[in-house]
Each structure stands twice: as C-alpha cells, then as structure tokens.
C-alpha cells in the first residue's frame, strides 16, 4: 500500500471516506496516476468501454438460425425437391427446390437480423459515454480517450461534460448533475465532495458514468470503469439478457416436430413395406419421398411469415410499430401488462384541479394562484407558457380563470429559483414574500397554526391522486427586502394547497376495461407516493373504485425486501401497483411473473428500462418520449405513447393467432388427399393418383392465396372477451389433427379418388393395369384428382372462417383476398385440365365436361358436411377442442 494511504473507518466504502482520502485508497494521488501506472491498470481491468462483443459471435448467431425447426423443415423440403428432380427429371422440381431454399434462407436471415439488432441497443448506450476526457496524469491535466480511464484516475469535469466512469467527487463547487440516464429522473441533483453516510447509489458525492454535469466543475477519482460502472451494469444486462422464446415460436416448433414425425414415420414405414414386398429400392425411395412431401405443408411457414408481416402493417396503422414479427403474435398472448404511469396512462401534463385552504376547505382561486405564481418561474410565449411543468400548470389555471399572468409576473421583484435540496421556490411581490413547495419542506417555516388540519388536507389530496403543493407567505418589513432567502424563510402563514394532477388519458379507462374483459392483468409501476399511485390506478381502472386493500400496493422498499417467492405470492394475492419503485425493479417483477408462467409485456422509455424491456416477453418502448436505447431494446414501439394502443395491439395479436389457426387447419386438410393416393398405390395395384409435383403445386401454389386471405380475416367481436390463451396451448392440437386429416381430409380424398377412378374406368382401365405417366388416360385421371382437390379447398376455405357459422355469414365479399383466392382456385382447377401448357408442366390432361361438372359439386359437398358437423358440435356444446 502506498505510504500515505489513509485509514478508512471499518465498513467504509469509497463514498463514506473523506475526499482527501479517496485517491490514496484507490492507490492514487491528488495529482493523479502517471501514464505507466494507468497503462498497467488498464491491462488489469480492461478498457473503459461498453462495446459489443467482438469476434465471431455473429457467425454463431447466424448458424443458430439455420438449426431452428422452421428453417430445417424448409431445407428438408428443398432437398426433397432436388431428389425428386433427380428421380423424375424434367418436372421442374429443382425450381421449387431453389424456391424453398430461398425461403429458408430468408427466414434465417430475418431471424439473424432481429438478433443482430440487439447489439444496436448496446451501441446506443455506449453513446452516453464521452469520447475524450480531461484527466490528471502526473499532475498535468490533459485530454485522453475516455476508454483509457482506469480506477485511480483523477478526472476534471466541467459544466456540460458527460461523466466517463463512476467516480468519487473530491473537489468542486456547485456541482449539479443530471442522472436521468441512470435513474430516469431528470431533476438536477447537487453533488458535494464531503463524505456521505449513504449507500453508493444514494450518496451525494458520487458521479455516475453516462450521466452529465449540468452545472459547476470539479475533480473526481475514478473507481469503476466500463461494465463495472453502474451504467455499464445496465449495458451489460441490455446486452446479455436473452429474450424469452415467443409462444408462437414454441407452437410452431411443436407443430413442425409433430408433422415431421408423422411425415418421416409414414415415409419410413412405407419404404420398409415397399422393400419387404419386393419393390425396387429406387421405387421405394421415390414413394417415401412422395409421402414425406405430401405430409409436409411446405407453404405453411412462408404463409406464417407473410401473415405476421401483414399483421404488423395493420398494427402500425393503430400506432403500434412492431420490430420483431414474433412480437406480433406475442402481444396477443400477453397475460399481464406492466405499465409506467407518466405519459402512458396519463397525459404527462400537470393541471391544477384542486385549491384547498389551510383548513382543508375550498380556497378562493384567484389569490392563492396569484401567490403561487409569484414563487414561480414561467414565461409567456407564442405557443403558451414555458418553464417548469408545475409553474406552467399554475399559470395556465390562472389564465383560464381570467387572471393576468403577465401583469402578476411583472410585479415580482425578486425570484428565488427552485432548490432541489430545499424542495421549494420563492419570490417577492410588492411587500410580500411567497414560498411554494412540498408540504414537508414548508411546514417547519410556518408560524404556529393548526398543523393537524393541514396534515389531514395533504393526506386527503394525496389519497385522491393529487400532487400537493403548499403555498405560504408573509408580509415583509422594508428592511427585509434585500435579505437572502434563508433569512426570509420564517414565520410564514399557510395560504393553502394546490392539488395538481397529471390527467388520465381519456382512452385509458376504456382500454383498461377491455383488458379486464380480456382477462389481462395490469400492473402499474411508478415512482409516485403509494396513496397517489393507488388513486391514479383507481381512476385508470387498474384498481376497482373503492378498492382500498393494502396488499394491492407495494412500495419499492418492500419490493426490495421481498424474496422472489414472496413476490409471486403477493402478485397472486392481487398486488397491482408498485409505488416509489425504480425502473430496475421492473426486472424483479417480470421474473416473478415468469415464475407464474405469465406472458408479460413491459413498457419503458428510459435507458435504465432497457434490461426490463429485454427481459419481458414483449418490450414496449415509447415512440415519442422514449430514448433511443429503449426503442432499440424493445420489440414494440408505441407511436403515440398511449396505453390504449397496447390494447389495440393485443386485439390484433389475438386475431392473428386465431387466423393462423384457421389457415393451418385449412392447409392441413389438403394433406389427406395428398397422402392417401400413395398409401393406395403401395398397397394395391392401382395407378398413383397424385404426383409429387402436383402435391407441391397445391402446397406451394394454389393454397397460398387462400391461406393468406384467412390471415387477413377481421377480428372476431369475441376476441377481446375471452381470456388469454394458455402459454402452453399449441397450434397443433389433437382436435385440429383429427378434424383436418380424419374428417375433411378423408372427404377430399374420397371425392377426388372417386373422380380419378371414374375417369380411369371410363377410359377402359381395369384393376391391376399399369399405366405410363405419359398415357393420356392417366394424365386426365390425375388431372381431375388434382382439380377436384383445388375445388374442394374452396368449400374448406369458407368453412374455416367461422367456428360454428357458415363462414359466408361473415360477408362473402368482406375479404377481397379471399375472393381472389376463390377465383384463383377456380381458374387453376380449369387450367390444370384444359390449358395445355399447364397440363404439360403438371402432367395432367383434359376430362369430359360432365366430369368437371361433377367436380364442381365437391366444394358444396365438403362445405355441407362440415357445416353439419358444426351444427352438431354447437348443439352438443362441446366442439372439438382443436377445431377453429
């Protein structure tokens, strides 16, 4: 230890020691480290930067995108196409293979870009640190790159400087800092070099990295740099906290796993059967591929992406900008919204709404407001008043009541600006000294009076959600006019109280009611007093009117003491308001809600909100008032900062999930008539009714537009009257599989195969006859099988629009894309048979018109049978769980 090292008292940290001891305790001197010492320390503790990880992390991230089921399945489908082309050249399957591979590439790159963006939040945070800093090295002040700072360095800071590292102030006068990036509070905070008894975070002699010097200048000894600073901690959390996997990602992964298992299982079984019954290895392989292709809904995943992208556009029209497609649906799955108060639930505009006398009764507005204005600092401009929001609110109320603000301000002889420590401001108007500020700060200055009545008034106003400002005054003797503020502040007479409110946004109570109807819990997190917070929560609709249960409100201190399990219990018991809480505590609340298996949305706007925004299932940043850091850390940005927009987003998200289920159901139905021809072909001596290219023509061609049209269906009126879906509820349920494969799929298969054999029989085919793939009879038969599937998908399409209704009752022409889908399927069913170029590509041929006429009955048949099922299900009131 250096010879002149001081002796800190037991249990002291750097903020607790005398300023002259701080440098020595950090192995430094008042004149700073020398260059060699600084270089050696930098090698030990690393640079003072908040940089993103270097190296090949992005390569790992990119590789990870290619191992998710989404992408793997698409690559598998592409591989199948290439094998198909090798087996049956000339059917253009390689083109489809390239298309599928392209989609898989796009999917992976899209996910990669999302992950890459997380680093952007880090970049935004790093911008809060200065590039260069004035530092004492060997007694000489010089400018060095901020990244070269090390513990023990003595930095010189001036007004306007950004603070480069956590440092202990050791010298300086009138230093005032703005800690908003760290705490979210933009109030100026005075700093002093003297020792403090407080903790590191609360000490008034500590300067924090990322914050700024608003006034004054001084010297400080660095004690924590880079990620070891408090600001670095936020950066580290913003970088390292991983977002939870969205419910949709889980659902689709589960669906893909199930479908892959079915496909591969069936394929392998029939491959083994083929080999065992004497079929050639090559033929068995082809059939295995056919069965796999038939089972895999190749077009489903691109349709997912398109549907989510279109959903995000609809959300943007409702002021909800979605940065990550998964968040589109995740918003719909939200169980709990943890929301800030100011600006989100409230208008972020203070208004004087109550004027109370010293005894608690109504005060006369004019004199009380005029007195308060004398202790305010406000200026009138073209766009209204400017100044501190509180002072502006007073001026606005006075002007609204007919007061002459300009004249009253002109009469003010002296201003005493708001003092953060004193928590009051003052002014002299005429021969009167007026003080306004927090009651606690004014009470000791009052002459004797009925304090109990005043205390009761303060409590009552706070309980009703008001911010309370006391106003007091006394008449001055002529000799007192030039005295300073401290000398004047005595024997004041309480004039009354101003009750101010940040009014609730008008849309909020309605949105909160919608949340309640939709089974979504709301949690308000605010720095306000518990009484005020509870009152605002009541007005917003988060708490019931008259709900005074103490366990509904938890303070920040209580939250800090609660263990995670205890917090879970408190939330389960109904805690919904966190008062005097800090943004850092949001993470603890999110962790507890995750323990409860809840999907959580969190709002935030500050730098220190970034970790919570990443820890949540859906991080929601404010578009107007939010920092760039918060916007980069979030998945969703509210363009109007309005709570009601979150609820609108939830409605869209729920609709999107419902629509995804509809088109998943729709797409899986065609798997039935795609699979069964292969089973028949391997089991019986009959021609193959559907080729691989024809299956892909359905999955990647004709089904796409109808699927997308289901993705565009409007919200069901019931969508916000149902509880949120269980986090574990998959997309692919047993009911949905049974309905798709076992009911509608079988109907489509039976009808299309009937037409297939009708054409074969009419053309002279006999049981057991083999037909060449270019035989006109075979081409016609396989053509009508394909055509009839397309036509029946029209009936299936309308049926999927409604769970119990006809589907047409939702307006046959209400969804233009659906009309386009129907027309496309009709045109395709015709072209397959009667347009030679299409027939050449797909290996199909024409059939007599009566046969095509019979095929046109297919959609009516499937629609009628499905509607019959719906009627029966509705009557039984127990519809299949999976059916939409």
């Amino acid at each position: 230890m250096s010879g002149d090292a001081p002796f800190p008292a037991p249990g002291s940290q750097i903020q607790n020691v005398a300023p002259e001891e701080a440098a020595a305790l950090l192995g430094s001197r008042p004149e700073g480290l020398d260059a060699a010492e600084a270089a050696a320390r930098r090698a030990e503790v690393g640079p003072n930067t908040l940089e993103a990880p270097k190296g090949l992390w992005w390569l790992r991230s990119l590789a990870r995108q290619f191992t998710n089921f989404f992408t793997l399945l698409l690559i598998l489908a592409a591989a199948i196409c290439f094998v198909g082309e090798a087996v049956q050249p000339g059917e253009n399957m390689d083109v489809l293979g390239y298309a599928l591979f392209g989609v898989s590439l796009l999917n992976a790159l899209f996910s990669f870009v999302q992950e890459f963006r997380a680093e952007k939040a880090m970049e935004e945070i790093a911008k809060f640190l200065p590039r260069d800093v004035r530092v004492l090295r060997g007694g000489t002040e010089s400018s060095v790159p901020a990244e070269d700072l090390v513990p023990g360095d003595v930095v010189a800071l001036r007004e306007g400087d950004r603070i480069p590292a956590d440092a202990r102030l050791v010298a300086g006068a009138d230093v005032v800092v703005n800690n908003a990036p760290l705490t979210g509070e933009s109030l100026p905070l005075p700093r002093t070099p003297t020792a403090s008894d407080a903790t590191l975070l609360e000490a008034d002699n500590i300067l924090f990295a990322g914050c700024s010097v608003q006034r004054g200048s001084g010297r400080a000894v660095v004690f924590a740099t880079g990620f070891r600073s408090q600001f670095g901690r936020i950066a580290l959390l913003s970088r390292d906290i991983r977002r939870t996997v969205s419910p949709l990602e889980h659902s689709t992964a589960q669906m893909v796993r199930v479908l892959s298992l079915i496909a591969v299982g069936l394929g392998a079984t029939f491959f083994a059967y083929g080999v065992a019954t004497g079929a050639s290895l090559w033929v068995s392989l082809v059939f295995m591929m056919g069965i796999i292709v038939a089972n895999v809904p190749e077009g489903l995943l691109p349709t997912f992406t398109l549907s989510l992208a279109m959903g995000s556009l609809r959300m943007a029209r409702r002021n909800v900008l979605v940065k990550s497609l998964n968040a589109v649906e995740a918003l719909g799955a939200v169980h709990v919204i943890c929301t800030d108060k100011t600006g989100t639930l409230t208008a972020n505009r203070l208004t004087v709404t109550r004027l109370a006398g010293a005894d608690g009764g109504e005060a006369e507005a004019g004199p009380l407001l005029a007195a308060a204005l004398a202790a305010s600092d406000v200026a009138a401009g073209d766009g209204g008043f400017s100044g501190d929001p509180l002072d502006v609110a007073i001026a606005e109320r006075l002007a609204a009541d007919g007061g002459d603000v300009a004249a009253l301000r002109a009469a003010v002889a002296r201003d005493f600006a708001f003092d953060v420590e004193k928590r009051r401001s003052a002014g002299i108007t005429g021969a009167r000294f007026v003080v306004k500020g927090a009651w606690e700060s004014l009470a000791p200055l009052l002459s004797a009076g009925d304090r109990a009545a005043a205390e009761a008034t303060v409590h009552d106003l706070a309980r009703r959600g008001h911010r309370v400002i006391a106003v007091a005054a006394r008449d001055l003797a002529a000799a007192e006019a030039g005295m300073d503020q401290d000398a004047l502040e005595h024997d004041l007479t309480l004039l009354g109280f101003l009750g101010l409110e940040d009014p609730i946004r008008p849309e909020v109570p309605g949105a909160a009611a919608q949340c309640r109807a939709a089974g979504i819990a709301m949690v308000m997190i605010t720095g306000d007093h518990p009484d005020t917070a509870a009152a605002i929560a009541r007005r917003a609709g988060i708490l019931d009117e008259g709900d005074d249960r103490a366990d509904r409100v938890i303070t920040g201190d209580e939250l800090d003491r609660l263990r995670e399990g205890e917090l879970v219990a408190a939330l389960q018991a109904g805690a919904a308001v966190f008062a005097r809480a800090t943004p850092e505590q949001k993470m603890k609340i999110v962790a507890a809600l995750h323990q409860m298996d809840k999907v959580v949305a969190v709002t935030g706007d500050g730098v220190n909100d970034a970790p919570a925004l990443k820890a949540a299932d859906v991080g929601v940043a404010m578009g107007r008032t939010g920092t760039d850091v918060a916007r980069e850390a979030a998945q969703v940005i509210l363009l109007d900062d309005n709570f009601a927009s979150i609820v609108a987003g939830i409605e869209e998200g729920r609709t999107i999930f419902a629509n995804i289920r509809k088109f998943t159901n729709y797409v899986l139905v065609s798997n039935g008539p795609e699979i069964i021809p292969y089973l028949l072909y391997i089991l019986f001596p009959v021609p193959l009714a559907l080729t691989v290219i024809q299956i892909l023509a359905i999955d990647l061609g004709t089904d796409i537009i109808p699927s997308m049209s289901l993705g565009q269906e409007k919200p069901d009126p019931e969508v916000m009257r149902q509880p949120p879906r269980d986090r574990h509820q998959g997309l692919l349920t047993a009911g949905l599989i049974a309905h798709s494969y076992g009911f509608l799929g079988l109907i489509e298969a039976a009808f299309s195969l009937s037409l297939f054999f009708w054409v074969l029989h009419g053309g002279g085919w006999h049981w057991g006859d083999a037909l060449a793939t270019d035989d006109p009879l075979y081409r016609s038969a396989t053509g009508i099988a394909l055509s009839s599937i397309l036509l029946m998908q029209i009936g299936n399409l309308f049926g999927r629009r409604s769970r119990f209704g006809t589907g047409i009752d939702r307006g046959a022409f209400a969804n233009p894309l659906l009309v386009a889908g129907v027309l496309f399927e009709l045109a395709a069913s015709w072209a397959i048979l009667y347009v030679p170029a299409v027939g050449f590509v797909l290996g199909t041929g024409p059939v007599p018109m009566p046969v095509y006429g019979a095929a046109l009955l297919g959609p009516l048949l499937i629609f009628a049978l499905d509607y019959g099922r719906k009627v029966a299900a509705r009557r039984l009131s127990q519809p299949p769980a999976g059916a939409p």
Binding site: I14, R228, V245
Partner: protein, 280 residues
C-alpha cells in the same frame, strides 16, 4: 481462526488486502498475518512503506497486522504451504492473476495450486471494483448440487459477514443449448421447483451462519444453457458487490468442464469475485 494474506506488494495486492483486513477484523483474535515471499522483487524501502501502510490500515480497523517474509526457495507455493498451519482454523486470502489474457486469471496460478491443495481455507480474489474498499454488502453466492456446499464456504463468508446486508443464493439449472431453446415454461417451472428446495436449504444455512435475518438471504433458481452468462446477468441485475463461489476441482477432467467457464466468469464479471475452497 488465523487469517493470512499472501501479499505481493502490488496495487492489486493492496485492494485484496482490504478484504483480508475486514476478515481478520471479524475474528476473535483480530490478527492478520501478512506473508511476503522473499525475493518477490519489490525494493526494500518501497516494501517497508507498504508494510507500514498496511499495518496502519489494519490498526485503524482494530486489527494487528504481522508481516512475515517467508523463504520461497522451492517456489512461492511451497513456501506458503510450509508456513501455513493445516486445518480448518487457517484462512488464506490471496489474489488471482491480475492480467488474464490468454493465460487466464486462475489457470496455472499459485492461487489455483493453493485452492487445490485443500489443507486449509483458501479465498482467492479478483478485485475489479476497488471503490468497495473490501466491503461487500450485496453478495451473490452461486451454488451447485454438491452436498459439500455451502458448508466449507461458510467459514470465509462468515468472516465477511458483518459487512454483508443481502445474500442471493443462486442455483443455475443448466441445460444443453438445444434443449434450452426448446424449453417451455412448464418444464422450466418444474426444473426451478426441483432446484428450489435445496437452494432454500442453503439460504437458511447461510442466514444462520452469517446471523442475518433470513429475509435478507434470497434463494434464486434459474434455468439456463450458459451458467457463466446467467451468473453475470444475476450479478448485474441484483447489483451484487461480490460473487462468492467454490473454486472448481483441480482434476484435469474438471478443468475441461469448468476451467474455461470460470475464466470466462473472472473475465466478464461486473463485480469482485471470490473463489473459496476449504480443507479436504
């Protein structure tokens, strides 16, 4: 309980010494024996200054610091081992390699040898927040499944105990990265529940050993595919001053499994780190 400090005369050594002084202050004897290997390299006058300062600082905290220059002809490790009385009544505080780089902070150091030696309690420290002055008020204690934990660790933690206001006992249930990516909330809940009972039991032991109100010792269970990253995240989230954990076992197989993650933790830590190991 006898507290020893392996001191090298460096600035980093001074920062580590603050922890040693705090620990000695919490023993009945209030004595800190400072061991300095002869021929370590500091010029005699500078060394005398540092010893004097250290002794004075210890005295300011009511601790008598006794400096001993020990022979290190067979190496510093052997010199220390020969000097230190074996058994649970001995606590040695030492530092890790100051500059990690490719060699790492722990691998191949004398501290690693001392931790592996297992004849007395060893506490190896990496100090990255010297402003704490050796006073850790919020401690994060990651624990594993081994029944030995936290028993041996309580000795050193107990000596830091009077300064501690909050302890978070963290159990990270680790999964493979593929399994973790497929982990649904229900299974995660089951895994957390499975780890919860033991973590609570450890928390109760820690509270009793530190004579802390049990409400100030919080058990936490997390599921992750990256143990180090989770510990770093929790240390940041909980605003921990010190990560306190058992040193990895020194066998080759263990080093392959745990060696690198430990180096990663020591490199990426947002706060001071203490590795402990008690007598076998």
């Amino acid at each position: 309980m006898a507290v020893f400090l392996a001191y090298d005369g460096s600035v980093n050594g001074d920062w580590i010494a603050r922890y040693a002084v705090r620990m000695a202050a919490h023993t009945p004897e209030r004595v800190l024996t400072v061991l300095y290997g002869e021929d370590v390299g500091l010029p005699a006058p500078a060394l005398a200054d540092r010893f004097e300062a250290l002794t004075a600082q210890a005295a300011a905290q009511g601790v008598r610091a006794e400096v001993e220059v020990i022979p290190v002809h067979g190496g510093v490790f052997r010199g220390l081992v020969e000097r230190l009385p074996p058994g649970p009544g001995t606590v040695l505080v030492c530092g890790l390699r100051v500059r990690g780089g490719r060699r790492g902070y722990l691998a191949g150091t004398i501290s690693a040898q001392l931790l592996a030696h297992g004849r007395f309690h060893t506490l190896a420290l990496r100090v990255v927040r010297p402003g704490l002055l050796g006073v850790a008020r919020r401690v994060l204690a990651p624990v594993g499944d081994h029944p030995r934990q936290p028993g041996q660790g309580l000795t050193c933690l107990g000596l830091l105990g009077a300064d501690i206001r909050r302890v978070h006992v963290l159990r990270v249930v680790t999964l493979g990265s593929v399994a973790f990516r497929r982990l649904d909330a229900r299974r995660a809940g089951r895994l957390r529940a499975a780890g919860s009972e033991r973590t609570q039991a450890v928390a109760a032991e820690v509270a009793a050993a530190l004579r802390l109100d049990p409400a100030h010792v919080h058990p936490l269970v997390r599921v992750s595919d990256d143990w180090v990253k989770q510990v770093v995240i929790e240390a940041g989230r909980l605003d921990s001053d010190l990560i306190y954990l058992e040193a990895p076992r020194a066998s080759l197989a263990r080093l392959f499994r745990f060696g690198d993650p430990m180096e990663e933790l020591l490199r990426d830590t947002p706060c001071d780190v203490a590795l402990y190991r008690g007598p076998a």
